[in-house]
């Protein structure tokens, strides 16, 4: 049987979940934050963060979330390593099912985040870890003096392509449009970086291995001419968007077509007592700075809900 209900369960330990945990702990809510691996989320795959206020020189992704975690722990937040398998209602409480037990809580904040989308081209899946990567800060140093490709045209793709120029002899950026979506300063940087060649209006058609089973080439198609080209290189990094981590939710809360959690302006979901914060919810700008605001809002609303309903 589950123990006495907690005030609040937070699912996910990225910036949204940690900020919710910080506010909840300071509000003296009895809170447990569940994180599948250990706190950090997608920020851990970010080498350097230059757009989070308060760090004039920038800060490493790891350092930033580690500071957030320590700040939460200072106020007594309980962070545990658990996998959530499903979530449901138990009367006026929320039941969170873990691999070996259930937890009950008065309120829930969904902050399970998002993960990189797979493009789905031939070779991508089979060659993951063998030349196909979704984390330049992890895997970039393996490509010292080698040529690599980057797929995507948003902030992440451009930032990571720039990061890879530290190691790679040449970085090929493949983008399906004829202009980048990335923000102004990143566009300026990438277009003036001599190690980077942008292949405009192109789509990848495959990633190909050598006899050792490591990436040795990719093929891409020019969308304007229809021509297909083969380019020998050693690694391909995909940054083509994010998909939410919401499978465990089933139909517990309303999701949009892509699986992101729908919320109102106060971040309430379709289920009473349940809020969503950070990358996991329907929103336009998925950043650390927007995630922390979400976390604070969700925790505040959870606190008020408990005062009203319990």
């Amino acid at each position: 049987m589950p123990d006495t209900p907690l005030d609040l369960i937070i699912i996910g330990g990225g910036p949204a979940g940690l900020t919710a945990g910080l506010y909840a702990s300071r509000a003296r809510l009895q809170t447990r934050l569940l994180e599948q691996i250990s706190p950090g989320g997608q920020v851990l795959t970010t080498d350097w963060v230059d757009n989070y206020p308060g760090f004039p020189e920038g800060v490493s992704g790891f350092e930033l979330v580690d500071r957030m975690r320590r700040q939460c722990e200072r106020f007594g937040l309980e962070i545990v390593s658990e996998e959530v398998t499903s979530v449901g209602r138990a009367g006026n409480l929320i039941r969170v099912v873990l691999t070996e037990k259930d937890l009950l809580a008065k309120t829930l904040i969904i902050a399970s985040g998002a993960q990189p989308v797979k493009l789905g081209v031939p070779g991508e899946m089979d060659l993951t870890g063998r030349g196909v990567s979704y984390c330049a800060t992890c895997d970039g140093p393996f490509y010292r003096d080698l040529e690599v490709g980057v797929v995507g045209g948003g902030d992440t793709a451009v930032e990571e392509a720039l990061f890879l120029t530290r190691f790679a002899s040449k970085v090929h950026l493949f983008h399906r449009r004829d202009q980048l979506r990335a923000t102004g300063i990143l566009r300026e940087k990438i277009l003036s970086e001599p190690k980077v060649t942008v292949h405009w209006s192109t789509v990848l058609t495959g990633v190909w291995p050598n006899e050792q089973g490591l990436v040795s080439a990719l093929t891409y198609k020019d969308l304007k001419t229809g021509d297909e080209t083969r380019l020998p290189l050693s690694g391909v990094f995909f940054f083509v968007g994010q998909k939410p981590i919401t499978d465990y939710l089933g139909d517990f809360v309303a999701l949009d077509q892509a699986g992101f959690v729908k919320t109102d302006l106060e971040l309430a979901t379709s289920q009473p007592g349940v809020w969503a914060a950070g990358d996991v919810r329907v929103k336009r700008l998925r950043q650390i700075s927007t995630a922390v605001g979400d976390g604070a809002t969700a925790a505040f609303n959870a606190e008020k809900y408990i005062e009203d309903k319990f």
């Binding site: 691996i37 250990s38 795959t45 993951t128 870890g129 063998r130 984390c135 992890c138």
Partner: protein, 109 residues
């Protein structure tokens, strides 16, 4: 403390400590520059304790030990590799949930 069950290996002693080990070995290829490696580190250390006597857990810092990762075609970290009798029994790339690692371990012990 996991004690002898958690070892740090290098290119120099990989053969004696991993390939010629009498028990299965879980090797965690990691580096200080890699955030997800730091995230998965505590889980790997927990596993060393939980499977004490059945499995050795070895950590290899790929920064400074380029030969072994090169030999096994490792181009992404964290990579977890399970060795049994000197052969690769399984490979997991990326920071995954503990249950996924446990599943792989159960197949070799």
């Amino acid at each position: 403390m996991a004690g002898d069950n958690l070892v740090h290996v290098t290119d120099g002693d990989f053969e004696s400590k991993v390939l010629k080990a009498d028990k299965p070995v879980l090797v965690d290829f990691w580096a200080a520059w890699c955030g997800p490696c730091k995230a998965i580190g505590p889980t790997v250390e927990e596993l060393a304790e939980e499977y004490l006597g059945q499995l050795t857990v070895a950590k290899m810092d790929v920064d400074g030990n380029p030969q072994t990762p090169g030999k096994y075609g490792i181009r992404a970290i964290p990579t977890l590799m399970l060795f049994k009798g000197g052969q690769v029994a399984d490979q997991i790339t990326g920071a995954v949930a503990k249950s996924q690692i446990v599943e792989a371990i159960k197949k070799v012990i």
